[in-house]
Amino acid sequence: MNLLKVVFGMEARQLLRQYWILGCLTGLIALSVLALLWAGGSVDKRREQEKSILNSYQEDLHYVLSLFGDTLSEKGRADAKLAGMVAMVNYRLPQPAVKEQLSLAPLSIGLTDVQPWYKMVKNTKSFDDRIEVPVSNPSILASGNYDYSLVLVYLLPLLVFAFSFSLYAAEKESGTLSLLTIQQGNAFHVIRMRLLFRFLLLLLTSLLTTALLFLLLSTGYGSVDFGSMLWWSGLTAVYLMFWFAVSYFILCLKKSAVITALIQISVWLFLAVILPGVVISYAQAHFPVPLKDGISSYRRAQAEDIWSMHPAVVSDSFNINNPEYVLTADPAIDTLPLSDRYIAGYYDLLERRMLRVIDSYQQEIDRRNTLIARLLSLNPVTQTEQLFTKISGNDLAAYRDFFEQADRFQKEWQGFLYPYHFRNEHLKPSDFYKFPVFDYRKPGLPYPKILKVMLSLLLSSLVLVALAERFSRCPHESTR
């Protein structure tokens, strides 16, 4: 305890006199705020687009409703009749399903720029946006996105190195190592305490910066829950601890400052760039991303095949697959070419056939994703990066969840329109106010996953420290 006090006192004095340390800490805060502004700009743009989509829908809705206003003129009555037709409603008023951005989104943009984030839902499905490919290499994300998670995942380790690389070598080169040994018994006790001070200093700065950014977020992007901030801060703390443990281990190898820095940078490059790059290349070689043009040609072939089928077969297939609409079936009308049930059956059959092939495509992607996830499961850099993105609601799972919600909503919309369709009934103005509305359910915090990654980081840090302790106990023999 006494040693801790003595070394911390010395380090605190040095801190105030070593301007580069203060400069680094100020730089970290500045870069973090800049990252928030930068990524916030991207999120703002997206939110504007969200508003624009919803506003456009409202404008279209008002326009269609206005068509019911004129009941006197013949043209007015014709327009009103047309406006109430199911096909026209489906065409004029596709329902917007938007993946809203969470308030934490500006902290980690993740797949915001890569994945589709809204769908205009009709009673028939679009198949163009079904294949999802994750971006698992943080360096690829880094090329397009500058956000706070990037600062934490990439830049913070570099700062750890800057704070630690010369701790042993500088003592040795300045002759203080032998003095520390003679005075204290083991110079590494002092070096360990100095490293601990720097860890706490960087931790405090990171946590204060996180708190500052959350405060800015809550004023600019809506309320941010305290729990998210705690998890984010906890993850930051253990990630920082991991890199300090790496640095401590490397310091205990007792190499010169240059060699120590080179080893540190090599470890960082390996975990942050090389390993993810190799894993992605390996996964690409084993499970290449299938081309979507196969889907389009398959769709063409299926459409022609169904079109060539007898209307009665198509209608029957619809009835078999959608028994909830059998009651309204009328064989005399339904078996006619281009009947409502035939059209519904056409799209229903096409969707069923398309989903089979899309699922097989998706399985290939899933196999690739699983392989990547498995190979990178022990990489603290990618794990932390993915978790930050998950907490911010911008990871692949969040987008996939949005598509599932949109699919469910599509069924709901279908269920709303089909009864009118099959009864050959037009919608009245009051029916427009009964439209189902897409309500995006935001993903909750993935507590087990966060805990798992935090524990693995903590465990890795402890193992590294234990190994380092073994090294540091072996005295370094002077060769002079």
Partner: protein, 235 residues
């Protein structure tokens, strides 16, 4: 018979490609100033390292007040102070702060007045006490190193080339301080190239060559020119 302050018994240090120290037998009594003289590679620093426990002896042993020095163990550190050849210390701490830090590491908590007293005793002028060490000359740093040794109040002080790079005035001041330390019962073992300093300071001089102690001289029995002649003949 009193226990020697420092004792080497058949002390040998071999590296894979050369022998740094060959069967050194030496006894240094309390209060002595013993200078090890010799060219580079003679084994002077190796001898100091073996007494400090910074190197593992291949055979033989070193003792401090009868206690065996063990490599990497701190059993004798309480009895020893060390002034390395390069005393850089922490450049952005003042002389006073450096002394305070190292004293506290050694378990000594002195007040400011006492610390200043040690610095003054080591010959560092008061105006420099609160200046950053990065502004100090080598001689001034050396004095801080001495003050650290003084503050530790260790019985034995080991010094490696302490006068190299010092100007004549600083060198004379250093000699006086060492004599005072000796008079107060401290034992000093010093590795040096400085023949004149060795003659004026030491009680005994050991001349080393290629890891062997080839000559042991009483400093009173030899003058500086004679020692220089002997040294040159030996080299």
């Amino acid at each position: 018979m009193t226990t020697p302050a420092l004792e080497a018994i058949k002390l040998t240090k071999q590296y894979p490609k050369h022998t740094a120290l060959q069967s050194l037998d030496l006894e240094i009594a309390q209060g002595e100033i013993f200078c090890l003289l010799g060219p580079n590679g003679a084994g002077k620093t190796t001898t100091l390292n073996l007494f400090l426990g910074f190197a593992r002896p291949t055979s033989g042993m070193a003792r401090i007040y009868g206690e065996k020095v063990s490599f990497g163990k701190n059993n004798t550190y309480g009895k020893v102070s060390y002034i390395p050849e390069i005393v850089q210390l922490y450049g952005n701490l003042s002389g006073l702060e450096n002394l305070d830090f190292f004293s506290k590491l050694g378990g000594y908590h002195y007040g400011k007045r006492e610390l200043k007293g040690f610095l003054a005793k080591a010959g560092l002028e008061e105006a420099a006490h609160d200046r950053w060490l990065s502004t100090y000359s080598k001689g001034m740093r050396q004095k801080v190193g001495i003050s650290i040794a003084l503050a530790k109040n260790a019985q034995v002080i080991l010094m490696d080339e302490p006068t190299s790079g010092l100007d004549p005035k600083a060198s004379v001041e250093f000699t006086e301080i060492c004599k005072e330390l000796s008079a107060s019962g401290k034992t000093i073992l010093m590795a040096t190239h400085d023949i004149f300093n060795a003659v004026s300071l030491a009680t005994r001089i050991g001349m080393m060559k290629q890891g062997r102690l080839v000559k042991l001289l009483d400093s009173k029995s030899v003058s500086a020119p004679e020692l220089q002649k002997l040294y040159l003949e030996m080299v």
